[in-house]
């Protein structure tokens, strides 16, 4: 008669010192620092970002107004919000299809030798600092647009389009690598089942794989847009920095990040102009948190299905 095996939970501390489990608390403290940082971020940006309302007494509708004339005491940040959204959307429209195409190429079409070139290339692409992209845009793209397409309206070269193109280049590898991961998680059965029915590879990609990876691909684009909206220096270098509501792809405009970059050093802490910049930082923070929640929602939907 063998006695039944005793289940021992290895994770359950057995001794008194084990029950106190100092290492556990110690490492938990280290892991919890990020929570404290989020709290501090919200507190500092939140407090400074609302000073323009509480201290200077501007109304929310004035701050969300369409005119930015800080020397006259008018601090409408609508041009910057629309600028950030505009530059981000156009960048995603350019980079999204290319990046997803690249991901499909790497996951489904490329032979091993080609993948061994594209994957490290992606990593290096992601690693190139954004100032380098911005500098490239300012010294190559902007003059190119001005000289060759001046007739189309690129009279100064620095423009909405230039900003979006530089951003598209930056977020292309980000979107591609996340989309690639999403495509790799599709079970191989789906592929084989479709091909066994006699479909071509493209039909399988178009009707089976892309729909199956939809949530993952959407997450990839959202994370790319998030990166585009938050990028500061590269955009500031090519966008022309004109605080107007953007109306033309070929004309200079500006974004939240670009204006903060330019004005933060020239304004004095406590004056309304400076306070308005903090409000713009707060708007950026809220935008990025919204993106995270959106991406999480999509991720959860993907896991549930």
């Amino acid at each position: 008669m063998a006695s039944p095996p005793v289940a021992v939970n290895l994770h359950q501390p057995l001794t008194l010192s084990g029950r106190l489990d100092l290492p556990r608390r110690f490492t938990l403290a280290a892991a919890a620092i990020v929570v404290i940082i989020v709290g501090l971020l919200l507190a500092f940006i939140g407090w400074n970002g609302t000073q323009v309302f509480t201290d200077t007494g501007q109304s929310i509708s004035a701050i969300l107004g369409p005119t930015w004339a800080p020397t006259d005491g008018v601090f409408g940040i609508l041009p910057f919000i629309l600028g950030t959204l505009g530059v981000m959307v156009v960048a995603a429209l350019i980079a999204g299809p290319l990046a997803i195409g690249l991901a499909v190429f790497m996951a489904e079409v490329a032979p091993p030798w080609a993948t061994s070139i594209t994957r490290p290339s992606m990593e290096i692409f992601v690693g190139i600092p954004s100032v380098v992209y911005g500098f490239l845009g300012a010294t190559v793209l902007v003059p190119f647009l001005r000289i060759n397409f001046g007739a189309l309206g690129f009279t100064v070269g620095k423009s909405w389009f230039a900003g979006s193109l530089v951003l598209a280049l930056m977020i292309l590898p980000t979107i591609a690598s996340i989309a690639y991961d999403a495509l790799l998680t599709i079970p191989a059965d789906l592929r084989s089942a479709s091909l066994a029915l006699g479909t071509t590879r493209w039909q399988t990609i178009r009707h089976i794989l892309l729909p199956a990876a939809k949530a993952g691909l959407l997450t990839a684009v959202i994370l790319g847009m998030m990166r585009a909206a938050g990028e500061a220096l590269a955009v500031q270098m090519v966008i022309g920095n004109r605080p107007v509501i953007p109306t033309s792809l070929t004309a200079p405009m500006t974004t939240l990040t670009a204006q903060i970059t330019l004005d933060m050093g020239n304004t004095v802490s406590g004056e309304p102009w400076n306070q308005a910049l903090w409000t713009m930082g707060l708007v950026l923070l809220i935008m990025s948190f919204t993106f995270v929640v959106l991406a999480r929602r999509l991720g959860r939907g993907r896991r549930a299905s």
Partner: protein, 298 residues
Amino acid sequence: MTAMRRAILVDRIATGILWGIGIFVVAILLAIIGHFLLAAIGTLSPSFLFGEPSDTEVGGIGPLIWNSVYILVLTLLITVPLGTLGGIYMAEYAGEGRITNIIRFSQELISSVPSIVVGMFGLALFVNLTHWSFTALGGALALAVFNLPLMSRLAEQAIRAVPEDERAASLALGSTKWQTIVHVVLPIAIPGLVTGVILTAGRIFGEAAALLFTAGVSTPTHYEFGNLNLTDPRSPWSPFHTATTLSVYIWKLNSDALGSFVQQVANASAAVLILMVLIFNLGARGLGRLLQRRVTGA
């Protein structure tokens, strides 16, 4: 029959387009690297890399490289130990619970914050509140803010990749959980960890927006490396010296003016940054493989 022929034709066209995209993207990358390397030829020399910047001619970028490396090391000194400890908790202790969820959500939130906003946060906390003014330490702390969650996740992944057998064998020998983690799990996880650290180091090295308002923007004056007084802001060794990094310098050059020699300096500086990214990438692969062999082959 025609429908099938059409499907095959469409498949061929689609395959061609996908190949085209792949080649196009790699070509762009090569073009960017090639552009800067070509533009840097003639400027890139030892005297450029180690020399002092100049306002009137092509000077050097020595102090800026020094600042970049200094801030990188300072940031890693903060984030590697803390991130590894956090990673240990998430991989070895954390269950599925509220605390774990909150930590993970916080990590994602911080990773999403634009670096310029992290810079503003650093300005409020590490520049104004502390009265340090613009310092290398303030810059490193700002960079640590968004490097910490990344490092923590890297450590977690490296630790999770350690086979369960190793833990079971150690525990069966009577070691405590902590002994197992320190003496068995961490040594095996180190190659993965090192690879991750080097890859993020490349990103820290190129970061600029978060440093504008924390480490400062100015052309550094002559550095006296003989000054070892760590509390003296004039010493390049002091964490309290104003520290313009190479990336910030490129931005500054571009926004000041684009004279021909200034553009030459900026081009060569960009080439240095790109070369650093390449070195970090290749180094991460090489070193990771080497350590892997050490750990598993001994």
